[in-house]
Point group: C2
Chain length 243, copies 2
DNA sequence: ATAATAGTGTCTGTGAGACAGTATTCT
DNA sequence: AGAATACTGTCTCACAGACACTATTAT
């Protein structure tokens, strides 16, 4: 990965240019990265994408995907690019989460990161990315390993935000395929909110909200009554507030 | 202000150090600032603090206060510092808003800004800061002048966030002094939400929520029945998510 | 008495949540 | 018949919003 060697080059060039320079001492030019908490629902779990670090610091530890901003890229584009590199999926639901800038969050240099979170439908994941490659893997959000940097904080914050967003927006759609049963939708809510919901109240609420329409199709997956398939009326508009 | 000359120095040093350097071409080290939307309620209006720019770009235009991060400072500390410099007030309610990083938001260089918003009680403002100095002034949020950079977007986003926050948190307290009448509190809501509220419903809601306690005192300010003064039970805990 | 603001209660509709039995499909 | 999941309706309670009159103070 280019990004890891980049930081060393920057540091080298900084050492040179700060020779005999006093006026810049109180200020500094930090490095800026984007980091992305990628959620998916797969195998009955809410999962997060992690990458195992090959280099120091936090060598061999897991961390969320991220990288430096390129020239001419918006923050969001940088996040999209990294996401595409890691999952081969485009048009991912992406939202800015929070920016982290504690002076020592990266022991090498001052690195400020703009954290994003993303939701991906499990059915769009290619096998290679979904994969069990030794160094990129999906983890159940409830049993994450220790993460490098302040990435545990970032993931927890993302999950909190996801819980909030679920209550007053349509984001749950981003985790399901085009057509789905109401039971599948309920599972999404239950996994994110970490609690059981009442089936009748849930259906009442979803159906009365009018965000979902019935399709002609049904889904069979066992020796039991087939379930009606539904679709979302309109894909959620993503407000990004950035030009 | 140091900050404006800082950017020129950085650019000069960049020109030198990029001589014959190709590997860094696709990446760049952007500059990072914090910008703060400072709200107060004064004179029956929701107001925002603006500073008139002395230099290019956007010379003579108004902009929100902001500046570069110093070595060893967290983002929040940088925002606090700038806020203190501008208003002479400490312990200000401050919350991170959003980070803006469009490549051309500053015509001079790549500048990524982490925007914050702050709430200040009008009664804590010293005269000098509250002031009518030619270059620092409070503006009614409904009639802001054209702002430099993307600062209009930032202010609008901050106001939107403020509206949301008002609904499910105690932030309104941050805009009032220790003791206040329910009518004053209602005015805060009305100014932020830009709509009239029903006096009976408002009082019912506030009183039943239990966030407020009656004091022994009353407030007289005219030829009419004096108003009961209330106080907040506890100051809102500010979650900053940053170590 | 008048002006000016403080303060108070009821009704209605809506939505959230608790709660249990019937329907359909396949073996 | 049995297993497995889909599907459905009622009641209660709390909160939101509409709505108008009385209370207190100073001049």
């Amino acid at each position: 990965m280019v990004t890891d060697s980049f930081i060393d080059q920057i540091q080298a060039s900084k050492k040179e240019s700060s020779q005999g320079d006093t006026s810049l001492a109180t200020y500094e030019t930090p490095l800026v990265t984007v980091d992305i908490v990628v959620f998916t629902i797969d195998d009955g779990m809410l999962k997060v994408l992690l990458i195992r670090r090959k280099r120091q610091p936090f060598q061999h530890m897991w961390a969320i995907p991220g990288g430096f901003i390129r020239t001419g890229e918006t923050l969001e584009e940088a996040a999209e690019r990294r996401l595409h590199e890691e999952t081969s999926v485009k048009d991912i639901y992406l939202e800015q989460l929070y920016s982290f800038g504690s002076p020592n969050r990266d022991p090498r240099a001052r690195v400020i990161t703009v954290a994003y979170y993303a939701l991906i439908r499990a059915d769009l994941l290619h096998l290679e990315a979904k994969a069990n490659a030794e160094d990129v893997r999906w983890f159940d959000v409830t049993t994450l390993p220790e993460l490098g940097f302040d990435h545990s904080d970032i993931v927890n914050l993302a999950w909190d935000r996801l819980k909030e967003q679920l209550k007053d927006s349509n984001i749950s759609f981003q985790l399901l395929s085009e057509k789905f049963t109401l039971t599948e939708l309920q599972r999404v809510y239950e996994l994110i909110l970490e609690k059981k919901l009442d089936k009748r109240n849930f259906r009442k609420k979803i159906l009365s909200s009018g965000i979902v329409i019935e399709t002609e199709e049904t889904k069979m997956d066992g020796y039991h009554r087939p379930a009606q398939l539904y679709a979302f009326k309109e894909r959620q508009k993503v407000l990004m507030y950035e030009l």
